[in-house]
């Protein structure tokens, strides 16, 4: 059994983490770093994707319109991977690792591959569904300009209109899809 903090303790400590971030640095955000990682890999194979440019606000520009956006902000992060946002997401991974090591009880081998609710739904290959889910989630997050962290948690904490809009869009799709997709059908499923 995994030990879980109850909603009161968990919510209070999670709220404290959001506050700590905005008091010390800036609101929490994650999904941009997937673009930065891709950019880092891309620039290993191409010298032209990121170039130094003293006219750009952040000192770098890119041949790609997205990386070049906001005065080369992303281009700069790609050229300098040891930056706050990128180290932040690596530290998140480490935080999850540490928590799992410090708790009693282990995740079962089959649960590592697919959660119970998935195994019961009879949808076949979990890895493929996770992969497709990942494509949709990050494409959607970049179109929206943020994800659960940046838009929903940090955004709604600051009462941003965009945060409520993102939450509305997300749940309008996610709730019916989850109910339909995880309907208990032992007849082979979709």
């Amino acid at each position: 059994m995994q030990i879980k903090w109850d909603w009161l303790k968990g919510g209070a400590i999670l709220g404290a983490a959001f506050l700590l971030a905005v008091i010390l640095v800036k609101p929490i955000g994650v999904s941009t770093q997937f673009v930065i990682f891709d950019g880092i890999v891309w620039s290993l194979f191409s010298d032209e994707v990121i170039t130094e440019n003293s006219d750009a606000k952040h000192g770098y520009s890119s041949s790609n319109a997205y990386l070049n956006k906001s005065g080369g902000k992303y281009a700069k992060a790609v050229e300098n991977p040891i930056n706050y946002g990128f180290i932040f997401v690596i530290a998140m991974f480490a935080g999850g690792f540490l928590s799992s090591k410090l708790q009693k009880g282990k995740i079962s081998q089959e649960d590592k591959e697919a959660p119970k609710v998935y195994r019961e739904s009879g949808h076949g290959n979990r890895y493929l569904v996770s992969f497709i889910g990942g494509i949709l989630v990050l494409f959607g997050a970049r179109l929206a300009g943020g994800c659960t962290s940046g838009h929903m948690m940090s955004g709604m904490m600051q009462t941003s209109l965009s945060g409520y809009m993102f939450a509305l869009g997300t749940f309008a799709a996610a709730i019916p899809v989850a109910i339909f997709f995880y309907k208990k059908s032992s007849k082979g499923g979709a």
């Binding site: 994650v30 706050y84 935080g95 928590s99 497709i132 990942g134 959607g140 997050a141 600051q158 995880y182």
Partner: protein, 189 residues
């Protein structure tokens, strides 16, 4: 110093997400199909409490205003949210919790991250094209970088200027906290 803070805050955030069960797709899927609202209660409480304290700090000038960062509102936020929601529902991961799930040893999280990196590069490559075909997707709504409760920061605007921002923020925070408190943990259908 900023790298130290990234490790401290990122590490704390990852640890807490794991401890509340957000690194386990089972919990997210069961929240989305409205059967186990534990995570919804956690997130509502976290947003409500942090929002209230943030606006108290803003009202008393105890926070550096340059740390406030408001994202623009445009119709692409809703369209992106809809696409995001479909992937979120089938996988049970989002961009942050997949990292935590992978840290906890989940193999499906690794495939989600692989898909995520592909989705992110597809958007990066398609951005110029999408923007030229659907320019209206990126046009600001209600002034773009807008909040319900005025942050008092000049570059962002508040929607209800005639009401004190702390009052607006407090009402919203109370709604979130009440939601966290009153929602049933489990729903048995």
């Amino acid at each position: 110093m900023s790298i130290f803070l990234a490790i401290l805050i990122g590490g704390t955030f990852g640890f807490v997400l794991h401890r509340v069960g957000a690194g386990n797709p089972q919990n997210l899927i069961n929240m989305l199909r409205l059967q186990d609202l534990h995570l919804a209660k956690v997130i509502l409480l976290a947003i409500g409490v942090s929002s209230l304290i943030l606006f108290l700090l803003l009202a008393t000038g105890m926070i550096n205003e340059s740390h406030i960062s408001i994202k623009a509102a445009y119709s692409g936020v809703i369209v992106g949210g809809l696409i995001f929601g479909v992937g979120f529902a089938i996988a049970g991961y989002c961009p942050g919790t997949c990292l935590v799930g992978m840290g906890g040893g989940r193999k499906d999280a690794l495939f989600f991250i692989g898909g995520g990196l592909l989705g992110a590069i597809l958007f990066t490559l398609a951005y110029g094209w999408i923007k030229s075909i659907f320019p209206s997707l990126f046009e600001g709504i209600a002034g773009g970088k807008t909040t319900l409760a005025d942050t008092g920061v000049d570059k962002f605007q508040g929607m209800f200027d005639s009401i004190p921002s702390l009052a607006v923020a407090a009402v919203i925070a109370i709604i979130f906290i009440l939601g966290a408190w009153k929602l049933p943990k489990r729903i048995d259908i």
